[in-house]
């Protein structure tokens, strides 16, 4: 019972913080609200008994990536004067397009409560042991291949960052 109440409470917070990200004028506030939204999502992970995922989510997203965001925003020194002005048409078409996407998503989720559960929910799926089993057994190849991705990204970052020898 309490988990249901917690779920609704966390969902309410998540949606509210997500709205605040978009609505607040100050970009630094947006980032801070995004951090809060990430925390509420981490709460959802805990409710699903996925503690490891929750911890990683807080450390990586709320911690590392958001701090990076904050630094970038502070370095860019965004304020009202430097903000580019978009034409009304652009704003209107963006609103229509994203509104349509919202309609599609809401429409598709409407029937979701009747979903036949294909795989029975395993409450222990989020524990580290099971995660490790999945990661190093079923998803071994993607796990190894993602090392190429990370290596490529790292090489690229170094290439863009280093000064060329004259």
């Amino acid at each position: 019972m309490i988990t249901t109440y917690l779920f609704y409470f966390l969902s309410f917070l998540a949606i509210m913080f997500a709205l605040m990200v978009v609505l607040s004028k100050n970009p630094v506030h947006s980032v801070l609200y995004l951090v809060l939204a990430f925390f509420t999502i981490a709460g959802h992970y805990v409710l699903l008994n996925a503690q490891f995922l929750a911890a990683v989510h807080v450390i990586v997203y709320a911690g590392a990536i958001m701090v990076l965001f904050l630094f970038v925003i502070m370095l860019l020194n965004l304020n009202k004067e430097t903000e580019p002005h978009k034409s009304v048409w652009l704003k209107a078409s963006a609103a229509v397009a994203s509104g349509l996407l919202l309609v599609v998503l809401v429409g598709s989720l409407k029937g979701a409560e009747t979903i036949v559960q294909v795989n029975a929910f395993n409450p222990n799926i989020g524990l580290i042991e099971n995660l490790g089993q999945t990661l190093f057994h079923d998803f071994l190849l993607p796990f190894e291949v993602s090392s190429i991705l990370l290596l490529a990204a790292m090489v690229g970052a170094v290439m863009l960052g280093k000064r060329s020898i004259k």
């Binding site: 599609v104 979903i115 190429i148 490529a152």
Partner: protein, 456 residues
């Protein structure tokens, strides 16, 4: 699998060159490595091996990998000078080789996780290499635009994968297909939404209208060699991935997406070709033409019959080889003249007959004029679409290719009928080799298309 392992280890070896200082040897080493990969890849033919339930090297994968490797070999012949810059030489090699590894994953995946990883491994080096002319503002713009738009499209793709997982409970293509056949009446709406979101993500990667807006700016701003890579290998891999997903896994629910792809194909053909006419910058024109070519390939995707994979394979090969030829000539001419306008080609027929001849052959192939490979490529695509009853769309495509002939001929006319007092442009040996290979391939594939067309 052999191709994937060889390419990624080759990438790591190139990085080691910096430490053990064999940078001089890298260029021949990479060329040899590509040949070796090609041979080992061919040994997978007809084996139909599945690895970890994640990748399957069926003939489809092997054929597309071979096309990608051949084009990559030609591409390396074209871009030796790109690997001359001392500071980031090994990085350029490594990034290109990793991108190739990503494209191998994209043509052979059987799991959504691998599809996502393949697309990312191909895209991230491309974002970086698009900005590899660090002091050029256009190059920076191209990299930035490509990164932002690409990340956005990847978001759609991931969201789609998540929704499909939510409905079917699996990332595996075969299991998703089973899900569709087992629940013919009550497929969840989120499954359809997932398909549409994935369609958007992939349409972005192949630069199909209305998701093509990034392509002209990115193609124009990036260094010419990288543009050539994007227009050929990235597009081939993306289409192979697209086809593998939609003509195999989602084929039985094609009602949901055929109309959308129909409109997309028509828009891509018309917008690509008509906008290309208005360009005076050759590189931008080729960018729009590459958008238009995505439209032709969408036709075969839409047809979804037994001709489709052969048609796309042949089209991708013909188009990539033709594009490498045009981009190479553009690279040489723009390098000598200092700008990429159509006027730079004036009088090339007199001053450099070889360049002009190869450019003509490549452009005729892109336009689809008979004795070249491009003609048969278009012919097979149209046959595939006809067999599935898309007569209206074939008519649109025919009209669009007539428009295409106009802008391709503008360059040919500039080369042969416009005067200009330019001296002969010196051409490097490997460029000469490449150009001769391209011309030979275009004519050979045009004369005996059976070579490739019966493969799959």
């Amino acid at each position: 699998m052999k191709a994937l392992i060889l390419l990624s280890s080759l990438g790591v070896i190139t990085l080691l060159a910096e430490i053990f200082s064999f940078k001089k040897l890298l260029y021949p080493l990479v060329l040899l490595g590509l040949i070796a990969t090609f041979v080992f890849n061919l040994s997978d033919w007809n084996t139909n091996m599945t690895y970890f339930k994640m990748m399957r090297f069926d003939n489809y994968a092997v054929a597309f990998t071979s096309v990608i490797l051949v084009v990559a070999f030609l591409w390396f012949l074209m871009s030796e000078s790109y690997f001359k810059e001392e500071t980031s030489l090994t990085d350029h090699y490594a990034l290109i080789l990793f991108a190739l590894a990503g494209s191998v994953i994209m043509v052979s995946y059987t799991n959504m996780a691998m599809l996502f990883l393949g697309i990312e491994i191909l895209s991230i080096p491309m974002y970086i290499l698009a900005g590899s002319k660090k002091n050029d503002l256009n190059s920076n713009e191209a990299a930035f635009k490509y990164l932002i738009m690409g990340a956005f499209a990847t978001g759609f793709l991931l969201f789609g994968i998540a929704l499909i997982y939510g409905a079917s409970g699996s990332f595996d293509l075969a299991e998703i297909k089973d899900y569709i056949t087992l629940h013919p009446a009550n497929i969840e709406p989120i499954f359809y939404t997932g398909i549409l979101l994935m369609l958007i993500g992939l349409a972005f990667k192949v630069s199909a209208a209305p998701f093509h807006f990034w392509a002209p700016d990115v193609y124009q701003g990036s260094p010419t060699v990288i543009t050539a890579f994007m227009a050929t290998i990235v597009k081939t891999a993306a289409f192979a991935a697209f086809l593998r997903l939609f003509n195999n896994c989602f084929a039985s629910v094609s009602v949901v997406w055929v109309n959308i792809v129909w409109v997309m194909a028509a828009l891509t053909l018309l917008i690509g070709n008509i906008t290309a006419v208005m360009q005076s910058n050759t590189k931008r024109m080729l960018a729009y033409s590459s958008v238009a070519h995505a439209g032709y390939m969408l036709l075969a995707l839409l047809a979804g019959n037994s001709y489709s994979s052969n048609a796309i394979l042949f089209y991708a090969a013909a188009y990539s080889i033709g594009s490498i030829g045009t981009f190479c000539v553009l690279f040489i001419v723009a390098g000598a003249k200092g700008n990429e306008d159509v006027e730079s080609f004036n009088g090339l027929g007199k001053s450099n007959p070889l360049l002009a001849f190869v450019m003509t052959a490549a452009l005729l192939s892109l336009a689809g004029i008979p004795p070249t490979a491009g003609f048969f490529a278009k012919y097979y695509i149209f046959t595939a679409a006809f067999q599935s009853g898309y007569t209206g769309l074939v008519l649109v495509a025919l009209l669009a290719s007539l428009v295409g002939v106009y802008y391709y001929f503008r360059i040919i006319i500039a080369m042969y009928f416009k005067e200009s007092n330019t001296e002969t442009i010196p051409v490097q040996l490997n460029h000469k080799l490449l150009l001769i290979a391209v011309a030979a391939a275009i004519i050979l594939l045009g004369l005996c298309p059976d070579f490739i067309i019966r493969l799959l």
